[in-house]
Amino acid sequence: MNGLHFWIAVIVLGFLGTPILGLFFKWIDRFVTARIQWRKGPPFYQTYADVLKLLGKETVVSERSSVGMFLFAPVLGFVGVSVAAAMLWAVAIDPEASFAGDLIVVVYFLVFPSLALILGASASGSPHAGLGASREMKMVIAYELPFILALVPPILNAGGTFKLSQILSAQSEGVLLWSGSGFLAFLCALAVMQAKLGVVPFDQAEAETELMGGVIVAYSGPPLALIYLMKAMLLFVLPMFVITVFWGGVHLGGWGLLSTAVKFVVLLVVIVLMRNTNPRLRIDQTMKFFWFFVTPLAIAACVVSLYAH
């Protein structure tokens, strides 16, 4: 594939394919959840219709909000996820596109959604959003450390490189997930994934029955559609990231496509099951969970991995 075609493909997949796939994943999530709860569930186009409907609605901005930041935040979050997605797609299509340190850049862009929600909510001037923003901040503080620690085994496995393509090629003989340290780190990554998605049991920042939506309570119309899209894309991008780093990567041709689909389904099932068999934790309990349970687990994974290499 020559240079220009490649980048066009990456941008189309990153900015267009990811939202479409993300919304599809969101539908699967909603549908399976409905079935678990003895409901019928929405038709497959419901998530797309939701976005279209929101795009056509009025954007209401509170007089108390600082308008610029309030409206810029959803764009920031959306772009952050899109760029992270585009980079993962690039590596999936052509490992040559990987550059030194792209793992760090992806991790960096994956913080954007939380950051955007915090910024937007703080700018909205609503007390509910303010409390939601403070909770989201605490969440970021709680889960970022174990997340980074969980990435140490893949990095060591690839010989101490931050390059996604090398992390992938190091897994060509054996997937990292089936090694001891890899499995521990994978478990930590699953917990962090749930928190980054902001779904039960880690949906304190939104908590509709406590904060009426918390960080997103003040949004309406197109900005809300962007946030909705951003969350749906995360539902695709985070599993893709986890698969790339721990589970042999995404393949787009032949049997590889099938195995990739199976991997996505497994991760999605884990997310949906976790979210339907747990109540929402309190924010202090979440922080304790990540600091005193997930972080030690991630450290253990690092230690095991250090001994192995």
């Binding site: 709860q37 303010g130 029955t209 406590e210 747990n278 109540p279 929402r280 924010i283």
Partner: protein, 394 residues
């Protein structure tokens, strides 16, 4: 940190289906004080009641609460029966017991589901409501309606049970037997539920007595009060059952006590169906003499109390209703202050509140002269003026 934030819950909030307003004063995540405002929903039921005949009132008071729609009419008809000295036939007493216990089952299942929803556990919400469905079906078969049963009349019951209805009730009980066990096990054994609910919103036994809490709210704090046992009505004194209490008074115990009561209710219904005597279901009531009467019934949320006064005419001269939530609301301050915002929402819901049943009317009076400062016409004028101002702004 001394910076206080105001977090409003209400007047319209996804937490509860009714209009109510809690102003939480929050430091960080901790609630340090709260204000409570009710009366968004005054419906003037006591006033309407005084314009209806004795026979019509039960159909009005069952609309006090969509969920306690067997308890309020029963309390009312008991008040009238006491006033008129009516001897209710034995079979009618058993019929009343059956309908009221079915109501308790559906109400407790409804609350259990909602409690799950409030802490983000929507699977519990949907499952509990699904298992509540057969109970509503049974109520429909027995009384003709899923919500407003219209089954209690002064002097007896409106509808008799035939063989088929008895079979339907038994089938419903068998159907929910296992699910109720499953829900109970889930609630007792789920470690994360325990993490969220244990030690949250504790109402001590002392406070429960001090605020005269009622129903499951009091029984969860180890105060064994239950009108069904303390002043038996219907057929409760002819049936073997136990008052359920739990010792700790936290939200977890309020869940458990309700689940235990579900079992007890099922036991009561089964016995009532087994022991039900034959005979008429309606006593002949000719007139209601002048005098006063009271009736109280253990509604799913606690004791509901009705007072009626008659001057010998066709309508009640005065009809006073006190729903159980009225007594349970004052416990909010002691249970909520010091909790985090996340815990306050479930603590508020744990008394299974019914705000519109509780509504009182407020009158603004001059303290010295006792004159009304604002009457209905003034309020209408005020409202019109405000609307006019708003219109000008737009």
């Amino acid at each position: 940190m001394t910076h206080k934030t105001l977090i409003p819950i209400g007047p319209y909030h996804p937490l509860q289906e009714e209009a109510e307003f809690f102003q939480l004063y929050v430091e960080g995540e901790t609630v340090v004080d709260m204000d409570l405002r009710l009366s968004y929903n005054h419906r003037g039921i006591e006033g309407i009641s005084e314009t209806l005949t004795w026979d019509q009132v039960p159909y009005l008071v069952e609309r006090v609460c969509g969920i306690c729609s067997a308890s309020h009419p029963l309390a009312y008809v008991q008040a009238v029966e006491e006033l008129a000295g009516v001897e209710v036939p034995e079979r009618a007493l058993y019929l009343r017991t059956v309908v009221n216990e079915l109501e308790r089952i559906h109400s407790h299942l409804l609350w259990f589901g909602l409690a799950g929803h409030f802490i983000g556990y929507n699977t519990v919400f949907m499952w509990a409501w699904r298992y509540r469905e057969p109970v509503l079906d049974a109520l429909e078969i027995v009384t003709g309606s899923r919500v407003n049963y219209a089954n209690h009349t002064v002097g007896g019951a409106r509808r008799d049970l035939d063989e088929e209805m008895v079979r339907a009730i038994r089938k419903c009980l068998d159907e929910i037997d296992k699910p109720v066990d499953m829900l109970t096990t889930t609630a007792l054994e789920d470690p994360i539920l325990a993490l969220r609910l244990k030690g949250v919103g504790v109402l001590t036994e002392e406070d429960a007595r001090r605020f005269s809490a009622l129903g499951p709210t009091a029984r969860a704090s180890n105060v064994p009060i239950d009108v069904r046992r303390d002043d038996p009505y219907a057929a409760y004194d002819r049936i073997e059952w136990e008052v359920q209490t739990t010792p700790n008074g936290d939200v977890f115990d309020k869940v458990v006590v309700r689940l235990l009561e579900l079992r007890e209710s099922m036991k009561i219904i089964r016995q009532a169906l087994d022991d039900m005597p034959g005979g008429p279901i309606q006593a002949d009531v000719k007139e209601v003499p002048a005098g006063e009467g009271i009736g109280h019934v253990e509604a799913p949320r606690g004791e509901t109390f009705h007072y009626v006064r008659s001057n010998g005419g066709p309508c009640p001269e005065r009809h006073k209703i006190r729903a159980p939530t009225y007594n349970n609301i004052p416990t909010y301050k002691v249970t909520c202050i010091g909790q985090s915002v996340a815990d306050v929402t479930i603590t508020l819901a744990a008394i299974d509140p019914c705000y519109s049943c509780t509504e009182r009317m407020a009158v603004v009076r001059d303290a010295s002269s006792g004159k009304y400062l604002m009457n209905f016409a003034d309020l209408v004028r005020l409202s019109q003026r405000k609307t006019e101002e708003l219109r000008k702004k737009c």
